[in-house]
């Protein structure tokens, strides 16, 4: 393939092309690693991650998110960089990436680097470039901040292994929830080529953990784990299909995060949805809320959705939706209910559930106390008692409660409306329930 790289392209020109091309990758998380600086270079990592800015779309900017190159031999239908598109192409050199990362990091613009890439010549060649770049960053520049690198499907496992020892996180995008969907959207990609590196990284992480228990100073392998991403709304897949895949990835591949990316029809492909109302952001938001419920609230996908009810209710968040369909469980007594049950109450998040359990040891709690603790009483009041009494007499009836809760939504109170417009992790604090609107 002829590489159309203009020799005198400035770093600014390249950044324009290669950051622009990277922006559809949702992950910008810098969490999961905790490392102190060793005094030989700059950088450390913070377990909860840090967001350094927010873009005009309200998404967090944590990492210098760029493609190494937007040259690509593949032709994925959803991708602006696909081979058949006539778009300006550019490639960084490893030194340029290192310098940008170091200088941005010193100024506290970023938490580190997220390096992805189109496929230049072939997967091995590309993976080698990525590996070389982060190797330079770690060894020559002694950079100790966060690094997230894409594993290129089909690349030599040894290259992926080497990269894993330099990166905090690696990811391979699943792209589509089903293998058929992938075939349709990305004719050059194959499900098993995606799952293979995913499995390899998972095994690498497990082995590394064993190594680290034996030798405390053994090098870390993807300390922050791995993540993946699925595009939502390009094909007629149900939420149930998507969430079941996500659950599987968490259970069987031990992923740290699954990201959902509302489809944007960048190529104006006439066979794909035109989405005149913009990308399906509300749906994406529901998926993130459900994802949160899986990871922190001990829910299973088949509690939230079924084959007969395969899609989330757009009017009400998945947790409230579960609660109103299980009124037999409620009301729960705040001063006695166990932690797990408290978590199921709309209006009570992980933090408030913990605070309730801690504070009730000092004496029994009143509604006033709950308010101070951070419980959203407007939502919780249908589902709880304090000392045997409800906050005030109210109908316990599905339709009535749904109406009250959605009324609050319309008033922009219950569910914070602005957050409907985004699905990514707004802040990276792992238990920021309020922001996820799952409380």
């Amino acid at each position: 393939m002829e590489a159309r790289i203009l020799p005198q392209m400035s770093v600014m020109d390249k950044l324009k092309i290669l950051a622009d091309a990277a922006k559809y990758d949702v992950s910008c998380s810098s969490s999961g690693s905790s490392r102190r600086n060793d005094g030989t270079g700059i950088g450390n990592t913070v377990a909860a991650g840090l967001c350094h800015s927010f873009g005009a779309d309200g998404r967090c900017i944590s990492l210098l998110k760029i493609l190494f190159t937007n040259e690509c031999i593949y032709d994925c239908r959803y991708c602006i960089n696909r081979k058949s598109n006539d778009v300006p192409r550019a490639s960084f050199t490893p030194d340029e990436v290192c310098e940008l990362t170091m200088e941005f990091y010193r100024r506290n613009y970023i938490e580190g680097l997220f390096l992805s890439s189109g496929i230049l010549y072939n997967p091995d060649y590309t993976m080698e470039l990525l590996c070389e770049t982060v190797h330079k960053l770690r060894t020559v520049h002694r950079f100790q901040g966060y690094i997230h690198v894409k594993a290129i499907p089909g690349a030599d496992p040894r290259l992926i292994q080497q990269t894993g020892y330099l990166a905090d996180r690696m990811s391979v995008n699943l792209e589509m929830a089903t293998a058929d969907g992938l075939r349709e959207m990305a004719p050059n990609k194959h499900r098993k080529n995606i799952l293979r590196p995913m499995r390899q990284i998972q095994n690498g992480i497990t082995e590394n953990k064993n190594e680290l228990t034996l030798y405390r100073h053994a090098p870390h392998f993807c300390e922050a784990g791995q993540s993946t991403q699925m595009v939502v709304g390009a094909l007629p897949e149900s939420d149930f299909q998507i969430m079941s895949v996500a659950e599987n990835l968490y259970d069987k591949f031990a992923l740290k995060r699954v990201y959902y990316s509302a489809f944007v029809n960048v190529n104006e492909d006439r066979e794909l949805p035109a989405l005149s109302g913009g990308p399906p952001l509300l749906r994406e938001h529901r998926l993130y809320q459900a994802d949160w419920l899986l990871r922190f609230y001990d829910f299973k996908v088949d509690e939230l959705l079924t084959v007969d009810r395969p899609n989330f209710n757009m009017a009400i968040d998945p947790k409230a939706d579960w609660a109103v369909r299980h009124l037999e469980v409620f009301p729960v007594e705040i001063n006695r209910a166990d932690y797990r049950l408290l978590l199921r109450v709309p209006g009570i998040g992980v933090k408030s559930a913990r605070r309730i359990v801690a504070a009730r040891r000092f004496g029994s709690l009143t509604f006033e106390d709950l308010k101070k603790i951070g419980v959203v009483l407007k939502r919780a009041l249908y589902f709880i008692t304090c000392g045997g009494r409800m906050m005030y007499p109210t109908k316990i009836e599905e339709e009535y409660i749904v109406r009250s809760l959605t009324y609050q939504n319309q008033m922009g109170k219950g569910e914070r409306l602005p957050f409907l417009m985004d699905g990514t992790t707004y802040r990276q604090i792992s238990l920021f329930d309020e922001e996820m609107g799952v409380v």
Binding site: K23, G41, I42, D57, G58, E103, R107, F362
Partner: protein, 258 residues
Amino acid sequence: MEEKYIICEDSLEGIFTAIYDAYALREGHGHIHIQVGEEDNYRLFAAYVHSQPDAVKTDKVLRTVKDRLGEEVYGSLCRAAASYDREKGDAVYHTVVDGITAGSGRRTMENLRNPYVRKTFELARRTANEVHHELEFIRFQELEQGVLYSKIGPENNVMPFVMPHFSDRLSIENFMIHDEKRGIFGVHPAKEEWYLVSDAEGFNPQELRWSRKERQYQELFIFFHKIIAIKERYNSRLQQQMLPLRFQDYMVEFGSNE
């Protein structure tokens, strides 16, 4: 008994000394209050006592607190003491009383039914949130000699909490954080311990000279910040909610240096 107000300096040392003095009175605690700063509105029928910051007393209180209440509670007290809120002295004092005298011990911060504990908890959380934001949003600019300089204007006194983070992260850099609201500086010489400078005399930010490359990197970042947003998802309300204007005022990508 007559209400008694102990007036103390607005600092951790000031508040801890006042707590020592309050205990030294041996009059119980219900009627005693600690007020930081000036005695702005005198109350009738109240006695006022002045307390001067004292290193030995501070140290005694600090040890007792750490010992009996643990590091975590101690951390909350420090963050509450760094608050902008004038009622912090009283809140911190009565929280210590709850912990030591009423015996809540290491669990003190969980006793949210006590209004003083709740106040301390809220102030500490507010400071912690702001500290977290500053770790994210502080922007350094490179001066001629390669020194990194940052100007901030936080609501609470976050300096003691942000300096350790950057001293570790930027261990080999010379850097300086300038809290323009309080006129204090956190200074970190490369590979050394950081320290606080509160005497700003002779310092004029107008005289700072940026390095040759500073402009270039600012432009690159401003540019990056712009193109990384997805047009179809623009949402300036969300952006502002996540990144309040009072921080934006100090950030290059929002035009603070134009």
